[in-house]
């Protein structure tokens, strides 16, 4: 069985590469569809589009009950109630709404306080003005693009060849795009912390790509595939350790912010494995084949 897989991996790398590109295209399609149907290519949470979040620590609350009560009382507001769990237990209840003005928020807050008999210690309020949320979002997109550009330049300087730089950037781009599409499918709303998580993905993606590219391109000992396998060994250890830490955090952490970061990292790391060892390997192998062919033609 293993030999069969190894065979496919070594001989049919071009097919596998097409498969990875297919995933990328599917992801782009998902994002496109999302854009057409909702007007936005991701689900933006309160911190990215403006509004407020009231987080309640009193867990003996029926969130559905609270939601219908609030929707009835404030029919025009966009309100959603969700639960935050840790290790299987509910630890927080969060009420998101588009209320930004103090008065609106206070009305909402007093309705909740009254209904559930809360005290000051039981809740926290976070308000984000919509203009700030929007501008923040726009600026992080700019930051991500800047990060990509700088990354390409650094890799270019390191390898002095365009192909590896292109491969690393493509891999990071694929990582983020596919992770974004998968995240969209979960229906969770993205927050500012989530945006930071996507940037972290860039860092992790680069790590594994650099190991791969360096070993494939700058080392000359042994056949290429052997070097690829040694990179896989190193890379998978790296990814596994991070995955393990991320899963532990995902299960036990109580903070929603960190949960979202961990979830995005989890998705991103898994996607990175596919993209690095199928897509990136494929691109570099194509390049090496072409170099070899050129060499052979010249020698002949």
């Amino acid at each position: 069985m293993l030999k069969l897989l190894k065979d496919i991996y070594e001989r049919r790398y071009k097919t596998l590469m097409i498969f990875s590109f297919a995933i990328l295209i599917l992801a782009l399609v998902q994002i496109g569809v999302q854009y057409y149907t909702t007007g936005d290519f991701i689900n933006r949470g309160v911190t990215l589009k403006g509004g407020s979040t009231i987080t309640i620590t009193e867990t003996a609350i029926d969130s559905n009950d609270l939601k219908s009560f609030l929707k009835e009382k404030f029919p025009k507001a966009d309100i959603s109630v969700r639960t935050v769990t840790s290790a299987g237990k509910v630890v927080n209840i969060a009420v998101d709404s588009d209320a930004q003005e103090t008065e609106e928020i206070n009305n909402l807050l007093s309705a909740i306080i009254q209904k559930e008999s809360l005290t000051k210690e039981d809740y926290s309020v976070e308000v984000m003005g919509s203009s700030l949320g929007q501008s923040f979002f726009k600026q992080t997109i700019t930051a991500i693009i800047a990060a990509f550009l700088l990354m390409a330049i650094v890799v270019l300087i390191y390898f002095r060849k365009v192909v590896p730089a292109f491969a690393v950037v493509l891999c990071a781009f694929s990582d983020i795009t596919v992770s974004l599409a998968i995240f969209n499918l979960t229906g969770i709303k993205l927050s500012t912390a989530g945006v930071a998580a996507f940037l972290m993905l860039v860092g992790y993606s680069v790590d594994t790509d650099m190991v791969l590219s360096t070993r494939m391109l700058r080392r000359k000992e042994g056949p290429v595939m052997e070097r690829v396998y040694s990179s896989i060994k190193t890379g998978l250890t790296m990814t596994t350790t991070t995955l393990v830490a991320v899963i532990v955090a995902l299960i036990f952490v109580q903070s929603e912010v960190i949960k979202q970061i961990m979830l995005i990292l989890l998705i991103g790391l898994l996607v990175d494995v596919v993209m690095t060892y199928i897509q990136n390997v494929g691109v570099i192998r194509l390049y090496l084949d072409r170099v070899e062919k050129k060499g052979k033609i010249q020698a002949a």
Partner: protein, 529 residues
Amino acid sequence: MKTKIKKIFTHWRVIILLLFVIFSLVAIQPHFSNQGAAIRNVVQNSSASLARIENPSPKLTPLAKERIIALDGKKVLSAADYYDLITKVQENDTINVQTNKRSYSLLATANDLGRVDLGLKVYDAPTSNLRKGLDLEGGTRVLLKPTEEISQEDFDSILDNLRERLNVYGLSDIVVRPASDLAGDNFILIEIAGITEEEIKELLAKQGKFEAKIGNETVFLGGKKDITYVCRSADCSGIDPRKGCAKSSRGYSCGFFFSISLSPEAAERQAQATKDLDTQNEDGGCFLSESMYLYLDDKEVDSLRIGCELKGSASTSIQISGGGSGTTQQEAVAVALQNMKKLQTVLITGSLPVKLDVVKLDTISPSFGKEFMSNVALIAVLALGAVALVVSIRYRRAGVVIPMVLTLVTEMTMLLGFAALVGWNLDLAAIAGIIVAVGTGVDHLIIIADEAMKGAAVVYDWKTKIKNAMFIVMGAYFTVLSGMLPLLWAGAGLLKGFALTTIAGFSFGVLIARPAYAVVIEILMRESN
């Protein structure tokens, strides 16, 4: 084995690492057994300030803050203890407050709401020099934006003004700093730790333009230029003894008063404005034909009749009065005194050059923070354990695994030490940055270990092996660095804490901890090859 260990600890890279770690521990100064209630603020003119308890300077490190350890001989182990014991104190009792510095004798007085309040705001004593941000300690974070374009000078004066307003109001543990985003907009970020009252928002966003007019002429404005002194002590401010409190249609209303002193110029203007007015004799006494109207943010807040003796006289002493109402007398008193305090603050600090919009407001209850901290600590330990497990399975050599785990711990320590030294507030963003730095730390250590373990089949010498590994590490370092730099400015610095901790953690790791690990691995593995 002994020679190997000696070699390790005498290598300069390891020595540097150890120095940094020791330095970090000194900066953090963990004091896990610290108990008591640390003093955050001393309210002005309270029994505490009269007993000469010092208001802690914001520049003090957390561990240097004075801690209350006993009240009248009863032990105070936490902030909850303090507030609990206070409820059992009677008004006019003399209490002995013992801190870790000395003993104070205080007279218990009742505050505006009739409860005993010594004028001390306390919080659980810090166990290290790490400053906890709002997400961990609870408090209020406000992001303000000027409604119009203003010059840099005006912007700076707004910052000073806000700081002063908050200080005058009795808050010292505050952060007021400018923030900007990539679009070039300027914001003001204010963070106030501890539970705060709703007035903070009012206090900060109101422009606070105060004017006193006689007829149509402005006689004086708020601020030090015109007003040289504002009385806040009990002998010339408080509930007006002549008006007191009275029942009104909707409950009660109470009147307050306080005296102020004008500068000679303002007094002269007053003299000019009054010298041509007529006098009118009424049953209350003799008054001038025009009253003095007080405006706050263009709204009339009070009008004062001017006594005849002030006609044409450059009197520098004036009494300001106003009121407040509530459903009960107690509430009316509280509201009146609150209004008085607001007016006093505005008169002392003057007005802001432009109106500010509240763009973002977070209030975080402290109980959130406490649970969060212990949750994070638990996860850090679990995650470290899980990572150690995976690495042990892969490498099966203690010589590789143990230094790896230790190196990770040193990276975390150095990062926290740096945060303590620089006085960073650790908040969620910072913690996320720590996660990233440590996460990539593991990755790079694995890269180094793998390169080092390439056995006899490869004829590379150690220098080249380590060079190869560090090449990859440095490449990743520069790439991530360039990714984080734009974040320092994006979005009014909301992710600044994250970018900074990531960059700092990465730098400490790549420049100090990871090369040291490479050295350790080399020494441990070399002779066994």
